[in-house]
């Protein structure tokens, strides 16, 4: 047995509960879109059972799994299917290495830092046809694919920790997207917290690791997980709640770290992590939420990111936004967007990505709202690609409503 692969072994035996009921297979968006994927039941529990304590089996079809987690949502037996497919990915990458492209794509943080430093250049370059042609040929990144913009004034540059001793204290896990691509989301979040009199600090943090997992780089993801766990625990132990504005980061901290890190510390951390909207809903349930929200007469479509649904918390973004007077929000019920993190940036997956996104695009069109709301930056990227509606993060809307309410008051 290959030793390097043995090191990858995860103490994950939920696969033994699989009844072969096929609910996951019927629910996996990728299985529905292409016959080239092996499906969650086979690539997850079935394969792991055939491998455990025997011989490694490498199946390259695992590249198709987007780690969207819809399989987990459907499995009635609580098999951690996407953790098992993560494992199959790791085996595959370990056997074949990552391509330069996948290495780049999975390094959201490094790329973010560099791209942001040269933001104007990066953004222009990404729009240049010759440049995109080169990227397509060399890196197999399709030239039709839109990319998120990078901001020079990233959140790292603009935010400074301020400690003023509020009752609730938030340690903000920003995530690469809000850090480098959408600092406006991070800034809105801080504003919303401030409107609620809550102090926000930004602990030292690395990429949550989800893009790495998606590209089979389990070891690197583990390192990042260990770093983040230690860094965040320093805060939770001082009474901070960890809050994220990115649903993938949230899922990683709440759930993935339990299986890829597996330590008691991972468990300890998970209990303190909240999605931003979930956090606000909790404040509301406790009667602590500032409800001075200015009316916004708008009709809005909500796209629920897969990794939001996977957190099993209902739909807190809608619960919170519904508090804004006059605000009409409808769940598009569109399922998976098809961008799926780095997946949709790959040339050989682009067709599937587009196919997956079709339902979402159609529901946006049918609803014909003023704009679309979603938490996930990658879902936004796909929405930008496939629809002509503006896409906003719930925090941006809330911040706006709070600000307007404040203006109304002062007027």
């Amino acid at each position: 047995m290959n030793d390097a692969l043995l090191d990858l072994n995860m103490f994950e035996d939920s696969y033994e509960k699989c009844l072969k009921c096929n609910a996951c297979v019927a629910s996996c968006p990728v299985t529905g879109a292409t016959l080239d994927f092996g499906g969650p039941k086979h690539m997850g529990p079935e394969l792991k059972r055939l491998i455990d304590n025997q011989q490694v089996i490498d199946d390259k079809r695992i590249e198709y799994c987007t780690l969207c987690g819809n399989c987990d949502l459907s499995c009635p037996e609580d098999v951690h299917i996407s953790t098992l497919t993560t494992y199959a990915k790791a085996i595959h990458t370990e056997k074949h290495g990552s391509s330069f492209r996948d290495f780049v794509l999975s390094n959201a943080e490094l790329v973010g830092k560099m791209a942001s430093a040269f933001a104007p250049v990066t953004n222009t370059a990404m729009k240049m046809k010759p440049m995109r042609q080169v990227m397509e040929t060399v890196m197999r990144i399709p030239k039709e694919r839109k990319f998120p913009k990078y901001k020079f004034k990233n959140f790292n540059r603009s935010f400074a920790n301020k400690v003023h001793g509020s009752k609730r204290k938030v340690a903000y896990f920003v995530g690469c997207y809000a850090m480098y691509n959408a600092p406006e989301v991070a800034e809105s979040f801080v504003k919303v917290m401030n409107f609620n009199g809550i102090e926000v600090v930004k602990p030292r943090q690395k990429c949550c690791g989800v893009p790495m997992l998606a590209n089979g780089r389990l070891k690197q993801a583990r390192k990042n997980a260990a770093f983040n766990i230690d860094s965040l625990l320093e805060y939770t132990r001082k009474g901070y709640d960890v809050v994220t504005t990115c649903t993938s980061c949230g899922l990683a901290l709440k759930k993935e770290y339990l299986s890829i890190d597996g330590s008691d510390k991972a468990k300890e951390l998970a209990a303190h992590v909240y999605d931003a909207d979930e956090y606000l809903r909790m404040l509301k349930d406790n009667g602590e939420l500032n409800t001075h929200l200015a009316p916004m007469k708008q009709k809005v479509g909500y796209h629920a990111p897969c990794h939001m649904r996977a957190q099993g918390m209902g739909t807190p973004a809608m619960d919170i936004l519904e508090l804004i007077p006059g605000f009409n929000i409808y769940d598009l019920g569109a399922g998976c967007c098809g961008q799926c993190g780095t997946f949709g940036f790959k040339k050989e997956k682009y067709g599937i990505s587009m196919k997956l996104g079709r339902t979402m695009a159609e529901s946006v069109k049918n609803l014909d709202a003023d704009y679309t709301v979603t938490e996930c930056g990658m879902c936004k990227n796909q929405l930008d690609q496939l629809t002509d509606k503006e896409v906003r993060h719930p925090m941006q809307i809330l911040a706006e409503s709070y600000e307007r309410a404040k203006q109304l008051q002062t007027v």
């Binding site: 103490f11 035996d13 696969y15 033994e16 509960k17 699989c18 009844l19 072969k20 009921c21 092996g38 039941k41 086979h42 079935e46 394969l47 059972r49 055939l50 455990d52 304590n53 025997q54 011989q55 089996i57 490498d58 199946d59 390259k60 079809r61 037996e77």
Partner: protein
């Protein structure tokens, strides 16, 4: 007219003992016919633990058996590579186990020359994460595992290749004698009732737990205690090596990894009826409780089925009240000519799977003596082909897991499968748990009007996984009809029989997930597929 057949030796019993004898006879050029009432391995030979003993288990209590086991262990690893996995084994001492025994055990293993080495606890815990952290000492021994299904098939195939004849689904109904000498056996086809006589000057009773029936037919006294043991199968293989408990052998102290599952056992209760394969929940619970000393998580782990088999233990004096485990597990080779004055009849019984080759050697040595032949035994050296494929089925459109299974399964039949798999449909995986393709199943269906899913299972691993045939049994039966390998009624019957047999083994372990699996199976067959009335109507 009644069929008749003439041969030199008639072997009764298609277990590992009889099959081993058949091969040995064939290799020595002696004409022989084996008669088995069911499929190969109908008895204990597919109802055991599958442990290739290193001898360590018997080192203290029965040094002779221990040495035999160790020697055979080394021989089988060499000569039957296709059915043996050289996993290695661990002996683990847990709190409460007798220290004095450990000393005696080490001492005896040393004397007998069985290599035993202590390994650091941390290493053991790392390699076997489910092992109890309470373990106090862990020793490494040369245990292995035996796939008794492939073993039987391969040994029998080699015998047939060397000129022997095999009659499965034929029951011996009587022994023919002439004065004080046997002259043959009466045989009945269990599926169509047809009878025939097989004339042979030598008849070997290798009927295992049924041995006494044969003796009775021949009118010779024989006392065999059938000691029934229960085994349970976990849904996945959670250990790399065999895990034994380091104490005087008792119930529930061995975990054997077997392909994709772990098998745990066993118990010992005497039974009068060799056909008694009953399963008892209480007995199992007790066994699991003991097993928890070695694998604490045992109660949380999913069991997919249970089964039982009987050890035929020969009793020299036909005394009553023996508990089974105290009777010798050594082999007994009886020359009924010398013993009871019925020449030509030989009984071979007792022993172990591990020592089957030696039992065959000794038996056939005796046969040779009787026939005045000086042919020497060659099975110490003559190896059966491995089950590994050198070719990778590159022509077939197979997913890696199915390919992997075939590459560890097809062996000498690789070219045959390379050809059949060219047909796109043959490459379809029918049993997903164990990755069995239609090509393998197709090759295992005799097509003689007797479709039996159990027979196919033993040859391919069909339906041995956690879903216990919920999906693949149906597919197989229907595909057999589609491909003209079975009639509809035949397939329907095979299906109902197959489902019933799987249900029996699942029933006793049916809590948690397996209770659900069992219900899922039932719902699919009775409600979705509408077999509901069918079952009552014709087959049960």
């Amino acid at each position: 007219m009644k069929k008749a057949l003439e041969t030199e030796v008639a072997v009764i019993g298609g277990g590992v003992t009889g099959t081993g004898i058949l091969r040995d006879l064939a290799l020595r050029g002696i004409k022989a016919v084996l008669v088995e009432q069911g499929d190969l391995g109908h008895g204990t030979s597919t109802r055991n633990h599958g442990l290739l003993h290193s001898g360590c288990r018997y080192a203290v209590r029965d040094p002779e058996a221990a040495v035999e086991s160790y020697q055979e262990n080394l021989i089988l690893k060499r000569t039957i590579p296709g059915s043996i996995e050289q996993t290695g084994g661990l002996f683990v001492k847990v709190p409460g186990d007798d220290d004095a025994y450990v000393r005696r055990w080490l001492d005896s293993c040393g004397k007998l020359g069985i290599p035993v080495g202590e390994i650091p606890l941390e290493q053991a815990f790392r390699e076997e994460p489910y092992l109890t952290k309470e373990a106090q000492a862990v020793y490494q021994v040369p245990d292995g595992t035996i796939d008794d299904f492939t073993l039987l098939i391969d040994v029998a195939a080699d015998a047939v290749a060397h000129g022997a004849a095999l009659l499965t689904y034929h029951e011996v109904t009587g022994i023919m004698t002439e004065q004080n000498h046997v002259s043959g056996i009466h045989v009945r086809d269990t599926r169509n009732g047809e009878e025939q006589d097989i004339y042979a000057p030598i008849v070997i009773n290798a009927a295992g737990p049924w041995g006494m029936n044969i003796a009775k037919m021949a009118g010779v006294p024989l006392r065999i205690i059938n000691n029934k043991g229960m085994l349970v199968v976990f849904s996945h293989r959670f250990n790399k090596r065999v895990i034994n408990r380091l104490r005087m052998p008792g119930d529930g102290d061995i975990f054997v990894p077997a392909h994709d599952v772990t098998i745990f056992g066993t118990t010992g209760k005497n039974t009068d009826d060799p056909n008694d394969f009953s399963l008892n929940r209480e007995e199992m619970e007790q066994m699991l409780t003991t097993g928890a000393d070695l694998i604490p998580e045992i109660h949380q782990m999913r069991l997919i089925r249970a089964y039982s088999g009987s050890r035929p233990l020969y009793q020299k004096t036909a005394g009553k009240g023996s508990s089974g485990r105290d009777v010798t597990r050594g082999m007994a080779l009886l020359d009924h000519g010398e013993r009871d004055g019925l020449d030509g009849l030989i009984t071979i019984t007792g022993g172990k799977l591990t020592t089957f080759r030696l039992m065959a050697e000794r038996t056939v040595d005796l046969v040779c003596k009787k026939l005045g032949s000086d042919a020497q035994c060659t099975t110490r050296e003559a190896a059966l082909p491995s089950r590994k494929s050198t070719d990778s089925f590159s022509g077939a459109n197979l997913a890696p897991a199915a390919r992997h299974k075939l590459m560890n399964w097809a062996g000498v039949r690789t070219p045959e499968f390379e050809t059949s798999l060219k047909d796109r449909e043959a490459a379809n995986v029918v049993c997903e748990c164990e990755q069995v393709t239609w090509a393998e199943i197709d090759a295992a269906i005799p097509g003689d009007g007797h479709l039996d899913l159990g027979d196919i299972r033993r040859r391919t691993r069909l339906g041995m996984g956690p879903c216990q045939g919920t999906f693949c049994n149906f597919r197989t039966a229907a595909l057999a009809v589609e491909h003209g390998k079975a009639g509809t009624r035949e397939a329907d019957c095979a299906l109902m029989r197959g489902v019933k047999e799987r249900r029996k083994g699942m029933g006793v372990v049916a809590t948690g997930e397996t209770a659900k699996q069992l219900q899922l199976m039932q719902t699919i067959y009775q409600v979705s597929l509408g077999f509901g009335n069918e079952e009552e109507k014709q087959h049960v």
